[in-house]
Symmetry: C2
Subunit: 268 residues, 2 copies
């Protein structure tokens, strides 16, 4: 018998999920929706190639047996006011944000009726999924831009307010592949109250209602906990200096590992 | 009879509040605490001159009749673990953040037991006041650095996660004096869900439990509402381009004006 996992409302993917082989992550996404009756809505607002990207995911999910699929194209703020687009949100059981540019998502949707509908749907149990830019945007404060393959350097990180579907974390994606530990460390050092979560490509975290996440995918998930930081020069002058951070804690989680965001503890 | 205003839990000051003349804002602060029994705690973590700044405010409040005053010096993360410092937070009726560097506040306090105590105290009704850097830090996402006296230009704004005592807004301070409308517009365009609030020097907003703010002080408070933005190039390429934003809404509020953060409407 087909059982939908109703306890897990948020799936965050580090980009470049497998689309040709086993497709483990996309298959997992399909277990969060009733294949015969639920509407899976693909939101392409992040990308400047909405048709191409939308069709690719639509074909993938269709081949996995999802019967009801729609693509929501929102290319500008006017589109986010249209009744037919808001109705699509209202009908959706699962909303999937593609990759692209995270600032496109917030700058086009922020403060619109469509965004209000999304937030309400989330509280009502609609499952939200995001990959790449769609992953970054899930937290309250999101990384927009930073140096890849660089040690942490002050003032190199650009952040902005995100969608706020998950609190107390900063998400980064394409993590090992683009050498992003430096930039995530800057974010955590700036406010160690916030956990840094770096997700590799073809890797995802699935977050349940109790704020416990589990890892699914072929890569790793890095959790950076700054609460133990004993000293850092992040706030001092000389912007171009390297950042020093003492005693930061990091967890590297693999497929199947879990992490409790409330207690900040990993477990199996 | 002396009445404490228990309905207003957050006072956010745009910096450089009058300390020699009428001292309207600091006097207002004193109406939020029982002068004879409440402990007013001055938190100097933002500044690199904690003794000087702490003593200045301590003398000011003492001359206004506050009997119980303490200064909390937290100069590094180790200080934020000390029992005696946490006890000071526990005893406080009103916590006053001085100016300085907002990243010092979050990078030193974030993820520490002292910060947890503060957040709990806030939910229990302890009044929080912040001026300048202490103002910026109040929101979920805070402005750290940006260009003063400049038109909005992309990628010139540095933000980071703040203390999160007020949701859905970005606060900016020394607003007209340092020509900061450009940088606040960038922040709002990046996510128009977030209201921009720019507070002039010697000007404050006092926020009540119903998320209604009132303005007190000699300058203006600018509320930038991006929900009406019809188009912006904020998310597109070419980082050094000027930012274009169409149809942004702005309110300029003066002493006594009110603004409902829920409905996004000003009133008198």
């Amino acid at each position: 018998m087909f059982v939908i996992n109703k306890q897990e409302g948020l799936i965050i993917i580090g980009g470049a999920e497998d689309k040709k082989g086993e497709k483990k992550i996309l298959k997992e996404v399909c277990t969060h929706i009733d294949k015969n009756s639920g509407l899976l809505l693909i939101v392409t607002v992040a990308t400047e190639k909405p048709t191409e990207v939308g069709n690719e995911y639509s074909n993938l999910f269709n081949n996995m047996g999802i019967e009801h699929l729609s693509i929501l194209h929102v290319e500008n703020r006017e589109d986010a006011l249209k009744t037919e687009n808001i109705e699509l949100i209202e009908k959706a059981s699962l909303i999937f944000f593609t990759g692209g540019d995270q600032l496109r998502i917030t700058s086009i949707l922020g403060g619109t009726p469509l965004y209000s509908s999304m937030k309400r749907k989330y509280t009502e149990g609609c499952v939200f999924v995001g990959t790449s830019a769609g992953a970054s945007v899930m937290s309250n404060t999101m990384i927009v831009k930073g140096m890849d393959d660089e040690s942490p350097r002050k003032c190199t990180l650009k952040m902005a307010p995100g969608l706020g579907l998950i609190n107390g974390v900063i998400i980064d994606q394409h993590f090992a592949q683009r050498g992003r530990v430096g930039r995530l460390l800057v974010g955590v050092a700036e406010n160690p109250e916030t956990l840094g979560i770096g997700i590799d490509e073809d890797t995802s975290i699935i977050v349940n209602k109790e704020n416990v996440l589990r890892v699914l995918g072929s890569g790793a998930v890095y959790v950076i906990d700054g609460s133990s930081i004993s000293d850092t020069n992040v706030s001092e002058q000389h912007q171009d200096d390297m950042l020093s951070i003492f005693d930061v804690k990091m967890h590297v989680l693999k497929n199947g590992d879990k992490f409790d965001l409330k207690t900040r503890r990993p477990f199996i």
